[in-house]
Assembly symmetry: C2
């Protein structure tokens, strides 16, 4: 397993300590969810569970990724929500300055959208438009706004413009066919927010020269352990689900903070926010996910976390950082770094040493303030670890949904707003063309 | 005033409707806070209130900004929390692709930090290190890690390396003097999270060729209206404070969502998060700020907001977007955009039309679901509007602190973690040098 989970600090005698019996009861309840997942994997009814073990689809994607890499300095990824956040999470591991540069455009703010496009050379720019349904208003609007910039190269557009959408007629597929774009199939049985391990997340990753197989490998390790073990008390995502639901039920803990001590995991925390919010936030249930990043949020949110209302569970993701980064040479500033200098504690240290000390101190301080803390300790923070975390949280979310009695795979409440937006658009006076 | 605030949807008959009497009582209580602010301005005891009217300090900054612009393709801004978020918020208005490129490095993740630095040409890179106290562990570590890369140009380092710190001896000031860096004074009476309108936020802005005076102008409009009016019911930040505190008190609303429909305001929402969390989250009081961005979060958090627990107040920042952006030409795809086509509602529309329709639909849908919604309608979303929003929220925060009975200007709880981190660092075995 690429990580070790420790929830021991959530029990004990404090006001927010989780009652062992409540937890044990919920944990026992996760067995049903794990059984359902085993059955779904065996029957093939949840294809996301088959992805970690597959490599054939990655082989098929490789020529596309290679072509984008050869023809493009920039690649624009159009799509929103689950069509963008998974790709962004994996792209958090790309080297700054590497080409092609990826631009995840997930909004419809015309000022920003056009400013980004204006800075690109469209002779060397690729486009990937992602919409599972093929009719997402934002994504279709984005693609229609980009198409005129691609004019002139129509006969070879398919080489560097691709659409990812599920099979069957749809506006996106029709548009792709008309313009000769490459069309790649989105599995109709994998929802957007569970699609990061599919081509939705991995084609952008491969274009950025990131190891898609490593992401899958990490996911497989977590999935195989979870479904291969018949004792939920040994299955980290089941434990996490019981912990979240237990603390909400017993102590009204309404927010779950995800605090990775890693810049690379910052977009992963935002991916998690969608996963948790859209999957569980229904029928008045669910808790609010709070994405964060350490050490930055020590200087932003920590005061509230320690001394504000006691309504949060904290999950801190950390790896051993001691000794990483360049060593601070005491000769840089003898007076500050000498034995009696005000920064002596930094002499001979590395930036990683400070990160290590701070992540431990934050966990300790939150615990000492009586706040429930879970530690996820990674061996290292790499693409395999990311894949493991993604699978961990997809499973934890599905299992938590089971305990809460909600369907993790739908998002019924947002439909009404879509209908209303379309009506407002129809009623609006037309722009002068 | 550069905006209009509408809280009418928070009253009425729904389960979360705010009782008019509770609100009126709280609003009356804001008069005291407004009086205290007036006195502080008159006495000069809160220098942040003098910033909007000043231009002399901007004149003094201009030669520095010009020098950075002339000598640098990239400028690295070192600092964390309030030393970074204000600059980031203003930098949200910079054009993509403009030079010098600004890089706000606010973390101590050695992998990411060194990867960013490795992609820069240090012969054409400037550095600004910001720490009010001059001893912030993260910022000092960052600067000590950057200094070796600047070797060779020591005699002229001050031309493109500056430190911003308060007067008096400190590690940062000593280091700056030793290396001949430019030193600029941080006002000791302006806390980091209230410093965006000072050189902390505005020097980076001016280096990015953004109009600092416009930001100040917007702030002045809000400040002058708030302190020039003796009826709190006409003062938007006082109304906002009473609304937040009232909903928390009457209905247990524990989270305050800030949802600007604008990409440029995305970092502003994160700036707000620190301001609200660190200023109010103490003695078990305060509410959790949730930064968001529209339309993106319709595909991430909206399901939870509409159908999850009713524990949030929503503030939607919007401007009139109708007709902005390029018009979608029906000839791009006649079959889709024709009168009977599936995307007919997009024909002849602009991306701004869709943004306009969606922001209205989201406000409407949240209201229809019985969730409290406040609208802040801007004339336009520009630097003047940003300055107005920053001053609005600084005042709203200070006034809310008064109603909650906490000190908005301290952050006592985070000190313990700092001491603990230092102890862990001292106990750690030294890296091999």
């Amino acid at each position: 397993m690429p990580y070790h989970q420790d929830i021991s600090a959530c029990f004990g005698t404090g006001a927010l300590a989780l009652d062992e019996r409540i937890f044990a009861e919920l944990l026992a309840g996760t067995a049903e969810a794990l059984d359902a997942l085993r059955l779904a994997r065996a029957e093939g009814s949840l294809p996301l569970l088959a992805l970690p073990g597959r490599r054939d689809d990655l082989d098929a994607l490789k020529p596309h990724a290679d072509r984008f890499r050869a023809l493009c300095d920039d690649v624009v990824v159009l799509g929103t929500g689950g069509s963008s956040l998974g790709g962004q999470a994996i792209h958090g591991f790309a080297s700054p300055g590497a080409t092609p540069r990826l631009h995840f455009l997930d909004n419809i703010d015309p000022e920003h959208f056009e400013a980004i496009l204006n800075a690109l050379d469209f002779a060397r720019t690729g486009v990937i438009a992602i919409s599972k349904s093929g009719g997402t208003a934002e994504t279709m609007t984005q693609l229609l706004a980009v198409l005129p910039r691609l004019a002139g190269g129509e006969d070879r557009l398919g080489e560097r413009v691709a659409a990812i959408t599920m099979p069957g007629d749809s506006p996106l597929r029709r548009l792709a066919l008309r313009y000769g774009l490459t069309v790649l199939d989105h599995d109709p049985d994998i929802g957007g927010r569970f699609a990061a391990l599919s081509l939705v997340g991995l084609l952008p990753a491969m274009i950025a020269d990131l190891d898609a197989a490593a992401v899958r490998e990490g996911a497989a390790a977590v999935l195989d352990q979870a479904l291969g073990c018949d004792d939920p008390s040994l299955v980290p995502p089941a434990i996490g689900a019981a912990l979240n639901v237990g603390l909400a039920r017993a102590h009204g803990i309404s927010q779950t903070v995800l605090l990775p001590y890693s810049d690379r995991l910052e977009p992963f925390a935002r991916w998690f926010r969608q996963l948790w919010a859209e999957s569980l936030g229904k029928q008045g249930r669910g808790t609010t996910p709070v994405p964060a990043v350490g050490a930055v949020d020590q200087h932003s949110q920590l005061q509230l976390w320690l001394d504000g209302p006691a309504d949060k569970l904290f999950t801190i993701i950390m790896a051993d950082r001691a000794g990483t980064g360049a060593r601070i040479d005491p000769a840089l500033a003898e007076d500050l770094l000498a034995a009696d200098g005000p920064l002596n504690w930094l002499a001979g240290r590395t930036m990683g040493d400070l990160m290590e000390a701070e992540q431990r101190a934050t966990a300790e301080t939150l615990s000492a303030a009586g706040r429930p803390v879970r530690i996820i300790a990674m061996k290292s923070i790499d693409l395999r670890a990311l894949g493991a975390l993604m699978m961990h949280y997809m499973l934890e979310t599905v299992i938590a949904a089971h305990l809460l009695g909600v369907d993790p795979f739908d998002q019924p409440a947002v439909e009404e707003g879509k209908v209303l937006a379309r009506r407002y658009l129809q009623e609006m006076p037309r722009a002068r063309g």
